[in-house]
């Protein structure tokens, strides 16, 4: 059973914004490896059937362009762990981003 390289686990964790403790990383290397091993069965299937989208075929339904009342701002930010007035607050985004 293949174990994933540590670097790969760290890269995926970063993409997913998941902080993993060192022991979690080690565990993940094994567990992910085992799970991903099962995916090899997929590769064996050679098919050109169209990927399924929905059981009963659906087309996108369009909504009329009629505005509806928004949540009051206090309501919008009510559940936020960090807020200031009507804003959500996050730690400083590093300079250089826009």
């Amino acid at each position: 059973m293949p174990i994933l390289p540590r670097k790969e686990v760290e890269e995926i964790a970063l993409l997913a914004r998941l902080h993993l403790e060192p022991d979690e990383i080690e565990k993940m290397r094994v567990e992910l490896g085992a799970i991903l091993d099962h995916f090899t069965a997929l590769a064996a299937v050679d098919t050109d059937v169209a990927p399924m989208t929905h059981a009963v075929p659906l087309e996108l339904r369009l909504r009329p362009d009629v505005p509806e009342p928004s949540l009051p701002a206090e309501e919008a930010v009510r559940a936020a762990p960090a807020k200031e007035g009507q804003f959500f607050v996050v730690p400083a985004i590093l300079p250089g981003d826009s």
């Binding site: 970063l14 909504r63 362009d65 509806e68 701002a73 804003f87 607050v89 996050v90 730690p91 250089g96």
Partner: protein, 492 residues
Amino acid sequence: MTAPDTHDTEPTAAASEWEPVIGLEVHVQLATKSKAFSASAVEFGAPPNSLTDPTVLGLPGTLPVFNRAALELALKLGVATESKIRARSRFARKHYFYPDLPKGYQISQYDEPLCEDGHLDLILGGELRRVKLQRIHLEEDAGKNMHVGAVSHVDLNRAGVPLCEVVTAPELRSAEEAAEFMRALHRLVRWLDISEADMEKGQMRCDANVSVRRVGEDRLGTRTELKNINSFRFVQNAVEHEIARQIRILDGGGRIEQETRLWDAVAGTSATMRTKEEANDYRYFPDPDLPPMVVDGNMMGSILRSLPELPAARFTRYVREHGLSPDDARTIISDRPLAEYFEAVVKAHPGDRSGRMIANWMLTELLGALNADGKDIGESPVAPATLSELIRMVEDGTISGKIGKEVFEETFKTGEAPKAIVERRGVQQISDEAALWEIVDKVVGANPKQAEAYAAGKDGLFGFFVGQVMKATQGRANPVITSDLLHKRLGR
């Protein structure tokens, strides 16, 4: 942050053997009343976080439902750019983490965009230049982050607003072309009421991809992406600056780094955006919450029927059929209400040879008066038929051009019909040669000293005589005939 690139002397592309290759990605905010995937209203400048709902906030359990008007506006743009419209297109999720992106992904389009392979016509050097578009697709906008000291404030009012992303082929050849492209797109989307496209309000934003290569080379050079460009002028400046920067590096034997650079309009320079950890892996996949979007014949038919004559076609018609100068034609089509006003004057006007004159009157007198009053063409107190009436009187000699301007001012202020004003003030032009000869004769006779001086060679005095004739006729003397007769009477 690497040091911003500042140089006072910038080599021009023309001076070296390099040619720039530019592609633009332009985001156009669609003029819908509600958002792309939920019914919160779209408004500019509303109090923070007052235009959200559970879907905009990305609350657990919420789902997107797409706005019909956004599709229609995008289709209009697709048709107007002669793009290939996909009968079945899909929304895709584009994943990245940022506080202004509530769901942690943006609903956009990837593999199956709505429109591909269209084109946009720029007006460059008085002619049309066609620029290929790679694609036009639909997506939702993100909110806004604002740095406030050690923290950032997040406002999601803009999150979920529908956008069209317009991507050009990498075939713009200069900073000027890039700026012209923006102007042409701006003109088109406003023309078709697709977007207000006010760059100051962020309703049209662009990123530029810039690279250079040796003239004659087929391959593209390494490109950089320029961001934070929010006016036409900045497009030109930023792209120019980047071209020069790249040439300088390559001339010096260096390599171009593929990177994203932020334009600083105040400093007039760009700097590398601090690239964080990862290259962006957006992990696109078709959005399972949104079935395929089908564009059927009915919808296409109705869009096609609703399309007016487009600005580029109108430009060509104005130049070819109405004899307008390319500059004048371009100015008139820059604003659809202005163009419609022009059409209305032309329609009210007899014959079809007066285009230039009409354009001139509109662009100088009418726009001048409107601007002074802070009005736009839609609020013009002078109706197209009225302007036509006035112009006709100048054309057929009833009044002189100079008098015409005075009459125009009066009709603009009071609304009185030009004919009535002319009648009331008795300012009809005097074109009767005999009558004018009498006056000319009298004027020259009354000023013998100046006549002698003129005859001796003082050319400047001619104006004096013209002025005297005008004075004697309350400005009504036909200037051309007056000039003719004066020359005769004065001997030269």
